[in-house]
């Protein structure tokens, strides 16, 4: 019995962290965001792809590494910790899982290989299935899609979009199709991209197994939620580390502020709230990989619980930094904002808790 990341998982995670610390420190991320530096962004993307991040979840039979979600979870922690300006969730987690479970042989062959060979990138638009806002929504009919989707994840500069209709059928849209319009949205979190997409009779390739089975979609959402939880987990870990370090350095009233009990207790509360989240997220990923019966509920609880914990941490860590926490100089807000957007993606905590109750027939 061993509860925790394996040596291999730690090793891969450390490699990702090391790469990001070397090639994507805060000032580089700021440049990418403020000056729209595509080259710098592509360097990061290429470096991560060279580490094999794109082939993590692709089965060995398609040439991928065939690793499990716990592996991807470890990677996601590192990406969140380093607020990596990189779209991991859609192309390399949710799309592969949707395709593996929902695609027919040709579809798998085509799309998984495309991801593996770095020719294809995916955006994911499942918002309307999870909780459709206002008049957003779309209809699949005769291999065409009509309507609009808000908050398509990672839809910037991708070859395909994955969309789920209200019945849980998954369709693939080629972004070169002239009958779609992608409108870039700006959120507070500029390390990743979000878009609204309007479809006017665009062609879709429906994933065959998703027509009669909702599991491909649900599994993709489960995995996405665990990965987002891991991202916020990593971001929260970074915030606590920064707050503790700053509190030891910064002096006020002749003492390090970290020697004041109020500051100590804020840090202790953050650490206590976060510590069980590691175990919860890993456990959820382990269940996804090995214990499907417990997996969906665990994924829900991991996402909603980590979202709540991280929100509180993002406030307290900013406060420990005092005025500096509020400025752009230390950039604490990048983590604050990443956590803020993760919280709403793939279901807000309230939405997900309601799902958790339904899963248990409550």
């Amino acid at each position: 019995m061993y509860f925790g990341l394996s040596e291999d998982q730690e090793f891969f995670k450390d490699n990702v962290s090391k790469f990001l610390q070397d090639h994507a420190p805060l000032d580089v991320i700021k440049k990418i965001i403020e000056d729209d530096e595509h080259d710098l962004k592509n360097n990061i993307k290429n470096g991560l792809v060279n580490l094999g991040i794109n082939s993590l979840l692709i089965p060995e039979e398609y040439g991928g590494l065939g690793l499990d979600l716990l592996f991807a979870t470890a990677v996601s922690q590192s990406l969140g910790e380093n607020i990596a300006p990189f779209s991991f969730l859609s192309s390399y987690v949710m799309a592969p899982i949707a395709l593996i479970n929902g695609g027919n042989t040709e579809q798998k062959e085509k799309y998984l290989k495309g991801i593996l060979e770095n020719n294809y990138k995916f955006g994911v638009g499942f918002s309307e299935f999870i909780s459709a806002r206002n008049d957003f929504g779309f209809i699949f009919k005769d291999n065409k899609i009509n309507g609009k989707s808000i908050f398509v994840l990672d839809a910037d500069d991708v070859s395909h979009l994955l969309l789920a209709d209200e019945n849980g059928v998954i369709g693939v849209v080629d972004t070169s199709d002239k009958n779609i319009e992608i409108i870039k949205l700006t959120t507070v979190d500029k390390t990743r991209s979000y878009s609204e997409v309007i479809f006017k009779n665009a062609s879709i390739d429906v994933l065959e197994n998703s027509i009669t089975d909702i599991e491909p979609l649900k599994k993709s959402i489960d995995a996405g939620r665990i990965i987002l939880a891991a991202d916020s987990l990593g971001a929260s870990e970074a915030l606590i580390r920064k707050a503790v370090a700053y509190s030891k350095e910064r002096k006020q009233f002749g003492r390090a502020i970290g020697s004041f009990q109020a500051v100590k207790h804020m840090c202790a509360e953050m650490a206590s709230d976060l510590e069980p989240c590691y175990s919860l997220v890993w456990h959820a990923a382990h269940c996804f990989d090995n214990i499907p019966d417990e997996s969906r509920l665990m994924a829900c609880h991991a996402k909603s619980h980590v979202s709540e914990v991280s929100k509180v941490i993002s406030k307290k860590a900013t406060e420990v930094h005092g005025g500096m926490g509020f400025t752009d100089l230390m950039g604490i807000h990048y983590w604050f904002k990443r956590i803020g957007v993760n919280r709403q993606n793939l279901g807000s905590p309230e939405t997900i808790r309601e799902e958790a109750a339904k899963i248990q027939n409550l």
Partner: protein, 407 residues
């Protein structure tokens, strides 16, 4: 308990309303010099800002209790009249009198502790908006612990020569003057040895660098001083007594950061959103978990409003003890507002995270903006932690932190 203002105020209210109707749509030739002055309805007369200030003073709608000789109205202070003016101006979209650190903090300080010369020189121009002031208190190593400030002023040949750095200086880029705390007695300890100086912002050697904050919008600055030289007479109070001079106005600042009525307006704006928008066809207001939290917050805001009525009452009824009610306002108000704006973001879900010039913004993105901005206010002007110290020690009489052995 009596919540009526009395008959004399009924008449005053009528007067104000008729003034407002007359001036509805007034707007300004010149841009507001400070971004803290909001521009309202447009369409009526077009005048200068200074003309407007001067009209308001003449009517007694601004600077009521400031003596005529210094450019004020020369009447008595009247909190209820002030309240009526603020309410009716807001109802009619007539531009408020200017506010800002010069009017709110420097003018009262000068009235109490300035020389006759200083009063004559600065007060009227400040009231008319001809001099905008910024505040030079905080430094990178003196945030909560203002007594640790390090910017130095040396007296050389009848001039103060200032070197050092200030931070969190809002409106520095629009200001003509700064009132500033400077260490003039380096050998004196902590609070002693600080002086309160008035520095023209055009003096050579001053550099202003904007300080971007998490909202990417609000305007703080860093201000650097290199051999900035000003006349010896530009000091308020005595040399080394600047701490006491500053403290008179610090108290003033803390109360004004949060307005419970503005907070209730936000609750109502949120209700509007919740009545219109839907999840899976269901109105947000009909989702019980959101409705419950909305009511929780509405109750808190109502308690805050009532609390501030009580604070107002004490201004009218000397002897009423509302020390604690006043003391908690900064902590309670900023935390509540941050919670409320954050809840609104939650209710809107992904749409709540949209920002800047994104499509689909609600209320110009103000929810997400203020969610962050109020985190700044929780920190600024005495963090929540400092507020709790003050409430415990001064409010509840709990023992101060024992003195620490010097390392």
């Amino acid at each position: 308990m009596n919540l009526n203002y009395g008959p004399e105020y009924k008449n005053f209210k009528k007067e104000v309303i008729s003034f407002c109707k007359k001036w509805e749509g007034v707007h300004f030739v010149d841009e507001a010099k400070s971004p803290l002055t909001p521009i309202t309805k447009v369409g009526g007369k077009k005048i200068t800002r200074t003309e407007w200030q001067s009209i308001l003073i003449k009517e007694g709608y601004f600077a009521r209790s400031i003596p005529k000789e210094y450019g004020g109205y020369g009447g008595e202070s009247d909190v209820i009249k002030n309240r009526i003016i603020a309410t009716e101006f807001s109802n009619h979209g007539v531009p408020s009198p200017m506010s800002g650190q010069g009017i709110d903090m420097l003018v009262p300080t000068l009235l109490e502790l300035g020389t006759e010369q200083q009063k004559k020189q600065y007060i009227e121009k400040t009231l008319l908006g001809e001099i905008i002031w910024c505040q030079g208190y905080s430094e990178p190593n003196a945030g909560s612990d203002l007594a640790s400030l390090q910017t130095k002023g040396e007296l050389v040949d009848g001039n103060w020569v200032i070197n050092g750095q200030k931070i969190w200086t809002s409106t520095a880029q629009y200001s003509q003057m700064m009132f500033c705390l400077v260490r003039t007695e380096p050998e004196a300890k902590k609070h002693a040895g600080i002086s309160y100086l008035l520095i023209p912002m055009e003096t050579p050697g001053i550099e202003i660098r904007p300080l971007v904050d998490m909202t990417l919008k609000a305007g703080f600055n860093e201000v650097f001083f290199t051999n900035v030289t000003i006349p010896e007479a530009n000091i308020v109070g005595k040399r080394g007594e600047g701490w006491a001079v500053a403290n008179a106005t610090l108290t003033h600042e803390r109360g004004s950061l949060t307005n419970p009525n503005a907070t209730m307006n936000r609750v109502n704006s949120l209700i509007n959103i919740m009545k219109k928008e839907t999840i899976n066809g269901k109105k947000l207001i009909d989702i019980p978990v959101y409705r419950d939290k909305l009511m929780t917050l509405q109750a808190k805001v109502m308690a805050f409003q009532s609390n501030s009525l009580r604070v107002l009452s004490a201004k009218l009824n000397p002897g009423q003890d509302v020390k604690m009610a006043g003391m908690i306002q900064k902590y309670y108000g900023t935390e509540l507002r941050h919670e409320l704006e954050g809840f609104a973001v939650d209710v809107m879900g992904e749409i709540g995270t949209l920002y800047e010039s994104s499509p689909h913004l609600r209320d110009k993105g103000s929810w997400q903006f203020l969610y962050m901005y109020y985190l700044g206010l929780i920190i600024g002007g005495g963090t929540s932690q400092i507020q709790k110290n003050i409430i415990a020690e001064r409010g509840l009489g709990m023992p101060r932190e024992p003195k620490v052995q010097e390392a």
